[in-house]
């Protein structure tokens, strides 16, 4: 296994002298793939994307070509394309780089995708906190329009498409595609139930809609360049293309690193690429795919059979970084946000921090989530405030178990998985917290200790 990055999407990110204007982009071969795309049949582009096997980079990892295939083309209604640039899964910061440093790559990918699905109007739903990113995208769209890569009669083909940049306003749930659509339509971002509201059939304005992540839409450009088969050669079967791993937390060199799928293990990523942990510290746990994904404990052994039948026996450091391997060990690659925790981390505090986030972000539509997630936050807050009880771990698990699978959208799982996995793997620390506080109480001491994570 090599430790050489495969920079496809991030080819020009942080490159000296590379600027985010259209001249620089065109000088580097920009919009050549759009010129190629508009000479192709739209359905052929869709076929290439399907062949490429590219899986959605936003979190769920659903094959993008399949999503496009579900598009209802017979309804006679307009078709919309939405780029999900509401990057807000804690630990993820890849789309920000594309938007800030290479916005035309996204726009080119979007117009290619819009042409393939024959959308006449596309949206970039960008999170509200990206003030600068919003301005950059607006400018980039104007530049593309001036050069006729966008707007009416693109490159003289008779095909027209416009892009609207739509700003969110700080709500995490807008990253959920149906919540995003509600928000775009001018409502609270309460997700819709599937079925019937699969966006490909009933999306924005009740019309067929494709919602793809920023990175996925950038991939479309490269699929047109290399062909679906060429793209599928990167990575491994079923896990094609590259992934941008965003590493944060207790490593020496946090940052974003792009590798072909399965080209690197979690251990190599942490120790070789990110320079390991601070001197004297030991690895305690890793959340591998954004804060919703299940936590992995450093001393776990992962054994079982992969989809293709091969048996595996991995320590945490041996896990190949791709969709299926992380799924096999009971977690997920999600949005690529790898959060590393060393042995100084108090797991009760870490979970209290995560629960605070999800309690803040629940949209409030479904009772189990609206009531359950703030309840879990209250329990973990009480624990760090010095009133921990030995039975709290079981209580937390029981609440989480009653949320997951009982909500309209996947937020219920996103909020429950951290709790379920923290308790499954670090229950001893939750119980000890209560015992330590009880001991201090007996001695007449203050039960709460100073916290660092909440």
């Amino acid at each position: 296994m090599s430790h050489q990055e495969t920079r496809l999407i991030f080819k020009h990110i942080d490159e000296e002298g590379y600027t985010n204007d259209i001249d620089c982009y065109v000088k580097n071969g920009g919009y050549d793939q759009l010129k190629k795309a508009v000479t192709m049949q739209p359905e052929d582009i869709c076929a290439e994307v399907l062949t490429s096997g590219v899986r959605g980079r936003g979190g769920a990892g659903f094959p993008a070509g399949m999503k496009w295939k579900f598009l209802d083309r017979k309804s006679g209604k307009p078709i919309y394309l939405i780029c999900n640039a509401d990057e807000s899964e804690p630990g993820t910061f890849k789309d920000r780089q594309i938007i800030h440093q290479d916005p035309h790559q996204l726009i080119e990918g979007m117009i290619c995708a819009a042409f393939a699905i024959q959308a006449k109007l596309a949206f970039i739903y960008v999170r509200g906190e990206f003030f600068e990113g919003y301005k950059i995208l607006e400018r980039a769209i104007e530049e593309a329009r001036e050069k006729n890569f966008l707007g009416d009669n693109i490159l003289g083909t008779g095909y027209s498409c416009d892009i609207i940049v739509h700003r969110g306003a700080g709500a995490y749930i807008c990253g959920e595609e149906t919540g995003l659509i509600e928000s775009l339509e001018g409502f609270r971002a309460n997700p819709r139930i599937k079925p019937p509201y699969f966006p490909a059939a009933l999306g924005a304005y009740q019309c067929p809609t494709i919602v793809n992540n920023v990175e996925t839409l950038c991939d479309v450009k490269h699929i047109i360049e290399m062909g679906g088969e060429g793209f599928a050669k990167i990575g491994t079967p079923g896990n094609t293309g590259t992934r941008i791993w965003c590493v944060s937390g207790h490593v020496q060199k946090p940052g974003y690193y792009e590798f072909a799928c399965a080209d690197i293990t979690l251990g190599q990523l942490i120790y070789d690429v990110c320079g390991g942990l601070k001197p004297g510290r030991k690895l305690k746990a890793v959340i591998p795919g954004g804060s919703s994904s299940k936590i992995l404990r450093a001393d776990e052994r992962f054994t079982g059979k992969l989809k293709d039948g091969t048996e595996y026996d991995w320590g945490i450091e041996d896990i190949p970084m791709d969709f299926d391997s992380l799924m096999a060990v009971g977690s997920m690659s999600g949005s690529g946000g790898v959060i590393v925790m060393d042995d100084t981390t108090d797991m009760v505090e870490a979970l209290a921090n995560i629960n605070y986030f999800y309690a803040h972000e629940s949209c409030g539509q479904c009772t189990p989530c609206r009531e359950g997630v703030p309840w879990m936050r209250k329990v973990t807050q009480r624990m760090v405030d010095g009133e921990a009880r030995e039975e709290d771990a079981d209580l937390l698990k029981s609440i989480a178990d009653q949320i997951a699978g009982r909500t309209i959208c996947a937020f219920g799982e996103a909020a429950s998985w951290p709790v379920q996995s923290f308790i499954a793997k670090f229950k001893d620390e939750f119980v000890e917290k209560a015992q330590e506080q009880a001991a201090r109480r007996k001695e007449g001491k203050e039960t709460a200790e100073a916290t660092t994570l909440i």
Binding site: E129, I164, H166, Y172, G249, P254, Y256, A350
Partner: protein, 164 residues
């Protein structure tokens, strides 16, 4: 009635017809009016509703849902500290305590002199450079407690841009 700047009106008039439905322009208009006025008063909410031929409640329900929309003005400086896990692992809570001490103001409040509103916010998607702090629309990264004290001094002296 509120009085909006002519460039705000111009932006609004350009934006609304671009959407397939007028209601889609509701959130963008909330942003534009908030940027113009500093916050969304009842009058602003009524104005947006009327502009989009909606009821005020249709706008009010957005204002109460989306964290970035506010019904009260902030201090001259709006300081937002990310407190989500990756930033917390890099010391965001200590950074915030440093701000609290310097501004003599608890997080979630505005300082007595009205200079600073200090808030915790959730993940700003720059987790590799935590702790992340925003002042107005400007982002600052790797802000440890010491750097926070330095920023606070520049805010108190008015040297730092308020990011608007």
């Amino acid at each position: 009635m509120i009085i909006l700047k002519s460039e705000t009106i111009e932006k609004i008039d350009k934006l609304v017809p671009r959407y397939p439905t007028v209601r889609s322009a509701a959130l963008p208009l909330c942003h534009l009016v908030q940027e113009d006025q500093g916050y969304l008063s009842n009058e602003s909410i009524e104005w947006i509703a009327e502009r989009l031929e909606l009821q005020p409640i249709n706008i009010q329900e957005l204002v109460t849902f989306y964290p970035m929309l506010r019904t009260k003005p902030t201090g001259e400086y709006h300081v937002r500290v990310c407190r989500t896990l990756p930033c917390a692992l890099s010391g965001a809570y200590q950074t915030c305590r440093s701000f609290e001490k310097e501004f003599e103001c608890k997080v979630g409040h505005t300082s007595k002199d009205g200079k600073v509103t200090l808030e915790f916010v959730e993940c700003h998607a720059d987790c590799g450079k935590g702790p992340v702090v925003m002042v107005g629309e400007d982002e600052y990264t790797d802000i440890d407690p010491e750097k926070a004290a330095g920023m606070a001094a520049k805010i108190k002296s008015g040297e730092l841009s308020n990011g608007l």
